[in-house]
């Protein structure tokens, strides 16, 4: 494999339209050589039978969720696919994982990113989360759904055709943005092509946004001067060690004095391998921007801590 195989995680709460979306996605030409892993909570899986009609290369992992009890099964399934690819049995141009409705995508990403073999062959391209626009109020009461939304890169609002005319879609969008400010939101699952052409945003458009949900809070921080990467690594690793559960998402761009900046993307305890962005034109403003989305944690405390630490790093640096 010259390039790593992209993994697309399709998640969403129970009954939010994940399988329907998947059947539509699979019609795209780019997924001709894709393999699929479907995870179901129940003892008897049904989704994979629906998908068999479209793709016979579907692996079912049932009786438990791959984010907790079935972690090993997922890693084994991925290794099996990798070996089949290496033998020349399957093309494996990409891999789609459909999670259960109760899965938290973060531990799944962690399993993938911390496996010594798989990390060299796969990377997580994007997390697509389906949101049932009709029942979102009910679903948001569940922590699992909040974690799914916070971990998403692309959000697809499903069942929008069933909404009453008076429904305020814009208000719903704002609510979602407060949990996932960097996600791209699509209304309806028709424009499947766009889900994959949408560029992953590193920082949200707005600088400040208020959360619409009590215990979920977010904060964006801008640093005009470059950050010390080593100090930042120490600080963030310490923060995530203690508060990983409370930090639903960290995203942003860090200017590290060097050419170009570094894009950071983290979900709870896990930080994706940072991406070095190509250097910007000298006329463009260079700064660091970070967004933290927290649950039951005052983001102001994070801000104070980071600023104190940066001051301290500057003094140590001199």
């Amino acid at each position: 494999m010259n390039k790593k195989c992209p993994i697309i995680i399709v998640s969403g709460f129970l009954g939010s339209g994940k399988t329907t979306l998947l059947t539509q996605i699979l019609k795209l030409k780019r997924f001709d050589g894709a393999s699929i892993i479907v995870n179901e909570f129940g003892e008897i899986g049904l989704d994979h039978r629906l998908l068999y009609h479209i793709k016979d290369d579907t692996t079912l992992l049932n009786e438990g969720c791959v984010c907790c009890q079935k972690k090993e099964a997922l890693l084994d399934a991925l290794k099996k696919l990798l070996f089949s690819y290496q033998k020349g049995d399957i093309p494996l141009t990409s891999l789609i994982i459909e999670t259960t409705g109760l899965a938290d995508p973060a531990p799944i990403m962690f399993s993938l990113l911390s496996d010594a073999l798989l990390i060299h062959h796969f990377y997580i391209d994007r997390v697509i989360v389906c949101i049932d626009a009709l029942n979102i109020r009910l679903h948001l009461k569940h922590n699992e759904n909040l974690r799914q939304i916070a971990a998403s890169d692309v959000i697809v609002l499903t069942k929008t055709d069933l909404l009453p005319q008076k429904f305020k879609l814009e208000a719903l969008k704002q609510k979602i943005i407060s949990i996932a400010p960097t996600a791209t939101i699509f209304i309806g699952s028709k424009k499947t092509k766009d889900f994959f052409s949408a560029k992953i945003k590193h920082i949200p458009k707005m600088s400040q946004h208020k959360s619409h949900l009590g215990d979920i809070k977010s904060i964006s921080v801008t640093f005009k001067e470059p950050l010390n990467w080593n100090a930042f690594g120490v600080w963030l690793s310490m923060l995530l060690h203690t508060y990983g559960e409370n930090i639903l998402r960290v995203k942003g761009i860090v200017d590290t004095k060097e050419d170009g900046s570094v894009a950071i993307n983290g979900v709870q305890h896990i930080i994706h391998p940072p991406i070095h962005l190509p250097s910007q034109k000298s006329t463009e403003e260079k700064n660091s921007q970070l967004v933290f989305i927290t649950k039951n944690l005052d983001p102001q405390k994070i801000l104070i801590s980071l600023k104190t630490f940066e001051e301290f790093a500057k003094i140590t640096d001199k």
Partner: protein, 108 residues
């Protein structure tokens, strides 16, 4: 694999890797920078860990060793397992948001 203890080093910590995954790296090319960054990290870490009465040292640029004042020692692979082990060694919660720790850092 670590040549000293035969332990498998399964992955690199995210903070040690900020290069694009597509860039090929010539062996030894970035060694100097890597060691420099490592030393700088140890410098920062020691200033924080001093608050908890522990100290971190480099071990042949492959691992780290954590010491408390009684001489107890723990081997650490990277920043990924450091905080857990430091917390066990010092019997304290490693909390970067702790006001007392921040006050301590300001005073240094």
């Amino acid at each position: 694999m670590c040549v000293l203890c035969g332990d498998l080093i399964l992955n690199t910590h995210w903070s040690d890797n900020k290069k694009s995954s597509n860039t090929s790296v010539v062996v030894g090319e970035e060694q100097r920078l890597w060691v420099k960054n490592r030393r700088e990290k140890i410098q920062f870490l020691n200033k924080i860990l001093a608050f908890y009465g522990i100290n971190i040292r480099d071990w042949n640029t492959s691992k780290f060793t954590l010491f408390d004042k009684k001489g107890n020692c723990v081997i650490v692979n990277s920043l990924g397992d450091l905080w857990q082990k430091a917390s066990e060694l010092s019997k304290e919660r490693m909390d970067i948001l702790d006001e007392k720790l921040l006050e301590y850092l300001k005073s240094r």
